[in-house]
Amino acid sequence: MKKTFKLVDLDCANCAAKMETAIKKIDGVTAASVSFMNQKMTIEADDARFDDIVKEAVKVCKKVEPDCEIVLK
C-alpha cells in the first residue's frame, strides 16, 4: 500500500532528507520519500502492518524534527 501524508512546519531540507533515510530503515517499508518542496511524505509498505509502520514513521520523524507535524487522515 502506498500513502501520502501532509507535513506541517517542515522547515529544513536536511531534516527532510534525514527523515527519509530514517523511514526507509523501518522494517517493512519498501519505499519512502519526504519532499521538502511539497511538504509531503509518501510511504509504501506492507499492507498488513501498514498502520503500525506509519506509527513508527511518525515516531522517527519526531525524533529528527520534533516541530514537524505529520497529518494522519
Binding site: 501520502t4 512546519d9 522547515d11 529544513c12 531540507a13 536536511n14 532528507a17 534525514k18 527519509e20 533515510t21 519505499a31 520519500s33 519532499s35 521538502f36 518542496m37 511539497n38 511538504q39 509531503k40 509518501t42 525524533k63 529528527v64 520534533p66 516541530d67
Partner: protein, 620 residues
C-alpha cells in the same frame, strides 16, 4: 509571511536593537567589573532573544540522538564564541543566522506558493442539477450521467459532454495554450479548463477519480517521489560532509595549539568550522531547482513526472519518434491531384461525389477538400466495394473511385504509381481520369522543432513507423530526421527502441516521443518516454514520463531547454555552495576568515542558491 515568520522577524529586530545598544557600552578592561557585567548582560539578553529556540532545539535533539544537527552546531559555535570572550561575535552570529533562516524560509515558502499556484487546476466544487435544483457539491460526489452547470468564470469540475449552451474554454492551465477552445452542444469538455463567457450544462461522462483533472493532479503530486540522482547524491554527501568538518574542527581546536599555543585563536577557528559544516545550503538548492524546473514546464502544458526524468532529458542525445500523431497530424489531407483529360477540380468533384457516403478517413479528406473548392455534386446508387473503393452515378455518368486493384477489376488499364501517401484512382464511364494522392499531414512546425533539437545537440534522431517505405521516407525528409525504420509491426517498435538503446552513446540517454496510442511499451522502455497530445488521452498520461499536454511539437525542444537550464542551475548551486564553504574553511585556517564569513557561507549561500534556483521557473 506566516505568523511564525512574523514573530521571528519581531524577535530578530528586538535582538538587533539590544545588540546595538550593547555595542555602545564601552569594553571594560577589568573582568567581572560592574561595567563588564552590564555589557555581558545586555549581550546575553540579545543572544537569548535571537536564539533561545536554537539552544532549546539543540538540547532536545541531542536527547533524541541527533548530533550533527544544525541547531546543535550553531549553539556550540555561538556559545563557544561567548566562552572565549567574543561576546559581540557570538551574538551577531546568532542574529545573522536567524536572519538568514528567516529569509530562507520566506523565499522557499514564496517559491513553493508560486509554483503550486501555477499548478492549481483543482476544481473546488461542482454545481450539480438534481430534480431541477442546482446545488453546490464536491466534485467527487457527482455521479456519471448527472448534469452539471458551469457558469462563466468557473472551472469545469468533471469531464463530460455539453448538452446546453456554447462557450469558449480556457485550457491554459492544462496545455499552456492561450487560444480559447470553442465548445457547443455535443462537444467533449475537459475538467480543469475554465469556462470564459457562456453558461454551459454538461452531462458527466467520468467519475471525478477518472477525470482528466484528477489524473493530472495525481501526476503532479507524485512527481516529488521521483528524486533526481543529483538530489540523492547531495543528501548522501551531506551525511558525510558534516561529520568530516566537525571532526576537522575538533582536530583544529586541539592539535595546533599543542605545538604553537594560542588556544583561544584555534578554538575560534574550530567554532567557525562548525558554522560552515551546516549542510542546508547544499541540500536545499537541488530539489528547489528541480521543483522550479518542473513548475516552469507546467506553464507550457509540459507535465513532468519527476526530477529524475528532467535530469535524464537533459542528457538525451538519441531521440526516437513515432510517426503518426507525433511528427504528423494523424489526419489525412489531399496532397496532390493528377487529372487526365479533365480539370483538377472536376477530378476532385467526381471523387468526392462518389466518396461522400463513406466514412473512411481518406474519403473524408477528399470530401473536405471538395467542399473547400465549392461543393459536391449529387450522386446516386453509391456502392462500397470493400478493399477496392466505391462506385456511384454522378450526372448520369458511371464513376469508379478506388485503388489500383479497382481499376484492374473494372478493366481500366493503368500503370501502378509509386508515390508517398495513398493514391485514389478515378475512372469515369470506364475511362481513366487520373488520381488524387492523400497523405497524413506533416506537422507544420515539426521541421523547426527537429532543427532546434539538433542545435541543442541531439546526436541521432530516428523515426519509427508501420507505414510503407515511400511514405515513411517522404515524411522523414520533410521533417528532417536522420534515420527512418519503416513497416514495423507494433512489437517491432519496442525492438527497434531496444536496439537503439544498446547503440546509444555512453552517459547519454534515449528519449522516445510518441502519442501513447499503442506505443506504451516503447515509452516505458526508453530512458525518458515523452507523450504528445496528452490532453484527453489517459493512455498517454499513464504511460509516459513526460506528457506534452497539447499537440505542439515545439514543446519538445522547449522541454529539453528547460531540462538543460535546470541541470545547469543545479550544478551552479552545488559548485557555488561547496566552493564558498571550502574557501571559508581555508581562509579560516589562514586567519583571514572569521565567524561572519562562516555564517555567510551557511545561510547567505542558501539564500543565493534559492534565488538562483528560482530562475528554473522562468524559461522563454
Amino acid at each position: 509571511m506566516s505568523r511564525k515568520q512574523k514573530k521571528m522577524l519581531v524577535r530578530i529586530i528586538a535582538a538587533a536593537v539590544i545588540f546595538a545598544a550593547g555595542m555602545f557600552i564601552p569594553e571594560s578592561e577589568e573582568l567581572f567589573s560592574v561595567l563588564w557585567f552590564v555589557r555581558f548582560g545586555v549581550f546575553l539578553c540579545a543572544y537569548f532573544t535571537a536564539g533561545w529556540d536554537i539552544l532549546w532545539k539543540a538540547c532536545r535533539n541531542i536527547a533524541h540522538g541527533q548530533v550533527f544537527d544544525e541547531n546543535f552546531l550553531m549553539a556550540i559555535a555561538s556559545v563557544g564564541a561567548m566562552i572565549i570572550g567574543e561576546y559581540s561575535e557570538g551574538v551577531a552570529v546568532m542574529i545573522f543566522y536567524q536572519v538568514g533562516e528567516l529569509f530562507q524560509s520566506v523565499a522557499v515558502g514564496k517559491s513553493r506558493k508560486n509554483i503550486s499556484d501555477m499548478m492549481d487546476i483543482n476544481p473546488e466544487f461542482a454545481n450539480v442539477e438534481r430534480d431541477g435544483e442546482v446545488s453546490e457539491v464536491e466534485p467527487d460526489e457527482v455521479q456519471v450521467g448527472e448534469t452539471v452547470v458551469i457558469k462563466p468564470g468557473e472551472r469545469v469540475p468533471l469531464d463530460g459532454e455539453v448538452i446546453f449552451g456554447s462557450s469558449g474554454l480556457n485550457t491554459a492551465a492544462l496545455t499552456g495554450e492561450s487560444a480559447l477552445r470553442e465548445v457547443t452542444v455535443g462537444d467533449e469538455v475537459i475538467s480543469g479548463s475554465v469556462n470564459t463567457n457562456g453558461l454551459l450544462k454538461i452531462r458527466v461522462s467520468k467519475p471525478y477519480s477518472d477525470s482528466t483533472v484528477a489524473k493530472i493532479l495525481e501526476l503532479v503530486e507524485n512527481s516529488s517521489d521521483n528524486k533526481a540522482r543529483t538530489e540523492n547524491f547531495i543528501t548522501r554527501f551531506a551525511r558525510v560532509y558534516t561529520p568530516i568538518v566537525v571532526v576537522a574542527a575538533v582536530l583544529l581546536a586541539v592539535i595546533p595549539p599543542i605545538f604553537v599555543g594560542d588556544w583561544g585563536g584555534w578554538i575560534y577557528k574550530a567554532l567557525t568550522f562548525l558554522v560552515v559544516s551546516c549542510p542546508c545550503a547544499l541540500v536545499i538548492s537541488v530539489p528547489l531547482s528541480y521543483f522550479g524546473g518542473i513548475g516552469g514546464a507546467s506553464r507550457y502544458g509540459i507535465m513532468i513526472k519527476g526530477a529524475n526524468y528532467l535530469e535524464a532529458l537533459a542528457k538525451a542525445q538519441t531521440f526516437v519518434f513515432d510517426k503518426t500523431g507525433t511528427l504528423t497530424k494523424g489526419t489525412f489531407a489531399v496532397s496532390g491531384k493528377k487529372p487526365e483529360g479533365i480539370s483538377a477540380s472536376e477530378l476532385l468533384s467526381y471523387c468526392a461525389a462518389a466518396e461522400q457516403f463513406s466514412n473512411h478517413p481518406i474519403a473524408a479528406s477528399i470530401v473536405k477538400a471538395a467542399q473547400a473548392q465549392g461543393g459536391i455534386p449529387k450522386a446516386e446508387n453509391a456502392e462500397e466495394l470493400a478493399g477496392f473503393g466505391v462506385k456511384a452515378v454522378v450526372d448520369g455518368k458511371e464513376i469508379a473511385v478506388g485503388n489500383y486493384r479497382l481499376m484492374e477489376k473494372i478493366g481500366v488499364n493503368i500503370t501502378e504509381q509509386k508515390s508517398a501517401g495513398t493514391i485514389v484512382h478515378c475512372a469515369v464511364d470506364g475511362k481513366y481520369r487520373g488520381y488524387i494522392t492523400v497523405e497524413d499531414e506533416v506537422k507544420e512546425n515539426g521541421k523547426d522543432a527537429l532543427a532546434e533539437l539538433k542545435r541543442l545537440g541531439a546526436e541521432r534522431t530516428v523515426m519509427l513507423t508501420g507505414d510503407r517505405e515511400l511514405t515513411a521516407k517522404a515524411v522523414a525528409k520533410a521533417i528532417g530526421v536522420d534515420e527512418v525504420q519503416f513497416q514495423l509491426l507494433p512489437d517491432g517498435k519496442v525492438k527497434a527502441v531496444e536496439e537503439l538503446y544498446r547503440s546509444k552513446l555512453p552517459n547519454s540517454t534515449l528519449a522516445y516521443v510518441g502519442d501513447g496510442m499503442n506505443d506504451a511499451p516503447s515509452l516505458a522502455r526508453a530512458d525518458v518516454g515523452i507523450a504528445m497530445g496528452g490532453l484527453g488521452s489517459d493512455a498517454a498520461i499513464e504511460a509516459a514520463d513526460i506528457v506534452l499536454m497539447n499537440d505542439n511539437i515545439q514543446n519538445l525542444p522547449l522541454s529539453v531547454r528547460i531540462a538543460r537550464k535546470t541541470r545547469r542551475i543545479v550544478m551552479e548551486n552545488i559548485v557555488f555552495a561547496l566552493g564558498v564553504k571550502l574557501a571559508v574553511l581555508v581562509l579560516t585556517v589562514f586567519n583571514i576568515g572569521n565567524m561572519w564569513a562562516a555564517v555567510f557561507a551557511d545561510v547567505g549561500v542558501s539564500v543565493i542558491a534559492i534565488i538562483n534556483a528560482m530562475r528554473c521557473m522562468r524559461i522563454k
